[in-house]
Every structure is written in structure tokens, then in C-alpha cells.
Point group: C2
Chain length 202, copies 2
């Protein structure tokens, strides 16, 4: 029966999870600034004040939604460091990254995309997912590679985000998005190892 107390109260963890679920959806649909704490609380049948029992402030709700992502990038960096530096390492690394994307990850990415300026602000003041990619690119392409090559490599990792962008307004399922992203990663990484033409002639 969970930890319900019998009257209108719920377990702390349960309510907290509900708040996060609703906030994730509203922050994505309407944007963080356009979503008021009132919007969130009313949808749960609570008052604004009750929200402040579970979270210090509105931004902490967002932080809880964002946490636990840089860890993944760090693991990827460790994995790359342990790999033999073969020519197809960029492809294997990017494919590993994109293949690890789950539908839950997609929804978090949607939210991040829907609040770009805000995420940029948080980025500047602490932990960052996107800037960590700079290290990944450095590890794979070297800091001396030309900007166009570096950007293309980055795009090979970012195909999930790109697919999400293109899928906007369509009825594409999360699985379609991930599959298209994988295909795009293969294509982009391939272009990096054979930049000119599509045959293998000179």
C-alpha cells in the first residue's frame, strides 16, 4: 500500500517523483519560464506552497531533472582512453554513445532543447554536458584539427539531438528517432574517414 497516511497526504518520495514527471512535461511543452509553479501544483491537485516543501525553489526542480548526465560523458571518455587508436575509433565511439540513448534520455534532451538559453546559463555556472563533448572531440580529433572537421565529428555524436529536431511535428516514435540517429552517425563518421566522393577512388 505504499506509504500513504490515509488522509490527503502522500509519501514524500512519491509526490516528489510526480512533481518531477509533471515538471519535465510542462518545461518541455511550454518552456521553463512560461511554466509557473502554479501550473505544476494545480495539475497535481496541490498548492504552490506544497511544492516548496519538496524543493527549495523552482530551479532546484530543473536541476533534479538535469542531474545524472555528465556521468555518462565521463564514462565515455574513460572508454575512449582505453581503446586502441584505430581509424574507425570515431565511428565506434559515436555509435556507442548514440546506441546508449534511451527514450527517457530523449525526453530529457527534448526538455534541454526547449530551454536552450536557460541550460546555457546553468552551463556557465558549473557542471556541463555539452562542454564535456569538447574533451571527447579533443581526444578523438586532436586540438589541431580544422574547425570544420571538429564540428563534423561533434555532429556524429549529436545525431540523437539532430534527429529530435527533425522529428518535431512528425509522428515519429522514439525508436524511429534513435534508429535514424544511428544511421546518421554511421553516415557522418564515414564521411570523416573518406571526406571526398562516395566511391573509394582517388
Amino acid at each position: 500500500m505504499s506509504t500513504s497516511t490515509g488522509d490527503g497526504r502522500r509519501s514524500g518520495a512519491e509526490t516528489r517523483a510526480q512533481i518531477l514527471r509533471v515538471a519535465l512535461r510542462l518545461f518541455t511543452e511550454k518552456g521553463y519560464e512560461a511554466t509557473s509553479t502554479r501550473d505544476i501544483s494545480e495539475e497535481l491537485g496541490l498548492t504552490k506552497s506544497s511544492l516548496y516543501y519538496h524543493f527549495r525553489n523552482k530551479e532546484e526542480i530543473l536541476a533534479s531533472l538535469t542531474a545524472q548526465r555528465r556521468q555518462d560523458v565521463t564514462e565515455l571518455l574513460d572508454w575512449i582512453a582505453a581503446q586502441p587508436r584505430t581509424a574507425d575509433l570515431p565511428l565506434r565511439a559515436a555509435l556507442r554513445w548514440v546506441s546508449a540513448t534511451t527514450p527517457e534520455n530523449l525526453q530529457a534532451m527534448r526538455m534541454a532543447h526547449a530551454n536552450q538559453p536557460l541550460m546555457r546559463r546553468l552551463t556557465a555556472s558549473g557542471q556541463d554536458v555539452r562542454s564535456a563533448f569538447g574533451e571527447v572531440v579533443d581526444a578523438l580529433a586532436g586540438e589541431d584539427a580544422d574547425p570544420r572537421r571538429r564540428l563534423l565529428l561533434r555532429m556524429a555524436f549529436d545525431t540523437a539531438g539532430a534527429a529530435l529536431l527533425s522529428a518535431q511535428g512528425t509522428d515519429a516514435a522514439p525508436e524511429d528517432v534513435i534508429e535514424a540517429a544511428r544511421a546518421a552517425t554511421v553516415a557522418l563518421a564515414g564521411a570523416l574517414t573518406a571526406p571526398e566522393g562516395q566511391g573509394d577512388g582517388a
Copy 2:
């Protein structure tokens, strides 16, 4: 000498253009909702009220920034309709689209990306740039193509947006972004005509 009146006033068109320039930057940096009319006016040495002489309301400023984009898609559609339906038409069409991207277009795209939820709202209530791409995809792939193929084709057109996404936080110049987008379009369109492997075997 322009149309300055000699005292503190400026020509209407001139002030209007300045407002649009500042708004484009602030809407991109901070987001539409987080940018107040006060932010815009103060940066120009005006009062909020003066803004309302040039624009009916805040949203009309955004609309002025957004206008004149669907035209481009319509032209693309006409061009596609007039082309022979060869196997490389998707590549040629997507490349034509991406190649026509200017640094000015990039900045407008940046702004659109920074305000996804709002743009989606405007989309639902009238003219739309993104949904028009559905027609492009239909014309090139047919409505019967599987979702993964359709999405991949869409991504081949959306490489400028994807490159912009990946370029965030880097020092990539607009020209680098456009060049990387072109390369990505070639790679993605290539993957569409030869979906399996990178050789040309079965």
C-alpha cells in the same frame, strides 16, 4: 544625414530596425520570455512605452523577426516539382537548400531554436516553416516511405540546424557551420541512396 529630426528623435524605420536587431540578440541569448520589453528599450536608451509606438505588442516584434521564411520553402517546393525525378534528387534538393543558408539565416535559426516552445505555439496558430518540410519530404520520399527513411531525409535538409546545435559553446564561425552542414547533407543523402554498408555491394 538620414531622416534625423535634429533633437532626440530618430526616423521611424531606423528605430524600428534597431529594435529588431536588439530583440533578435536578446531573444537568442536569454530567451523570449526572459527578455522584458524593458531590457530591449533600455539597451536603446528608450522607454518601454516608446516600443509600443513601433510595435503593437511584444509578440509582434517576434513575428517581424520570423516572417519571410516560409517563402523560401515554397520556392524550394516549386523547384522540386520542376525537376526530373532522378535518384539523386534528394541530394540535389537538400544541398540546394543548405547551400542557400546565409549567416543571417543562421542567426534567425539560433533564435528559433532558443525559443522552441514559443515557436511551436505560433506554428499551431498559422504559418509554419517546419511543417512545410513535411510537404518537401512527401514530394521526395512519398507518404508511403517508412518513418525511419522519412526522418533521415528530413535530417538531410536540417543539417544547418544540427550543425548549429553541435557548434554551441565552440568558437566555430558561421562559415564553418555552413560548410559542415553541406558535408553532412552529402553524407546523409548518400546514406539514403545506399542504406547498407559503405561499399556498393549487395
